[in-house]
C-alpha cells in the first residue's frame, strides 16, 4: 500500500472517531464500526495501534506549521 493511501485511511479512521467523541454516532453500533474494523484489518493494527498511527501522523503535520 502506498503512503498516501495509508494516510487517507488514517484520516478516515480519525474522522469516524471524532464523530463518536462529538456524540454524533456510536461506531460500535453502525456501519462506521464495520468500517473501523475493515481499516484495522487493512492496516494490520488493532484500534489502539491505528489511533497511535493517527496521532503520530497528524502530530508530524503540526511541526511543519
Amino acid at each position: 500500500m502506498n503512503i498516501s493511501k495509508r494516510k487517507l485511511l488514517l484520516i478516515e479512521y480519525g474522522k469516524i472517531v471524532l464523530k463518536e467523541i462529538e456524540g454524533v454516532k456510536l461506531p460500535s453500533t453502525d456501519s462506521d464500526g464495520v468500517r473501523m474494523k475493515e481499516i484495522q484489518e487493512i492496516l494490520g493494527l488493532n484500534h489502539d495501534g491505528v489511533m497511535r498511527e493517527v496521532s503520530e501522523y497528524l502530530g508530524g503535520t503540526v511541526s511543519q506549521d
Binding site: 484520516i11 463518536e20 484500534h47 489502539d48 489511533m51 497511535r52 502530530g59 503540526v62
Partner: protein, 145 residues
Amino acid sequence: MNFELPEQDVQELEPLREEFEQIGTNWRVPLNQIENLVAGNSNLEEMLEDVLDQCVRYTKTVLEQQETLLTEGRGEDHAEKDMARSITHTATQDTLRAFARNLIRSGKTATDIYPLLPNTESRASCGQFALRLTLSRGVKTEQSK
C-alpha cells in the same frame, strides 16, 4: 521443542516489556489527571470543557486540511482549509494559555500543571497536545466494545 523462556529470563525481561508498553502508549494525554486538577472548581471545569471542544475543532481542521492535500493537492481548496486550520490552531493555543493561567490563579503550581499541559508559548506543542488529547478520548471506544 519447548519455546518457553526459563522463569529467570522472563523476570529479567519484564522491565523491558513494561518499557515497550510505555513507548506504545505514551502519546496519550492522561485526561483523568487533568480532570483531577480542576475537580471541585466549576470555573475550571467549564474551562476544561472549552479546551476539549477547542481541541476537537482543531483536530477536525487538521484532518480536513490533510485530506484535501492528499486528494486534491495544494490548490485553492487546500489553501482555504489550511487557513481555517491555522486560525483554529491560534485559537487553541489561546484557549490552552487561558486554561493554564487560570490553573495557576487557582493555586496550582507549575509542577502540578506542566507534566500534563504543553508549553503554552509553543505553537507546535499546543497543536500536538490538542491532537493527542482529542485522540486519547477516542481510545475509549475500544474499551466500550
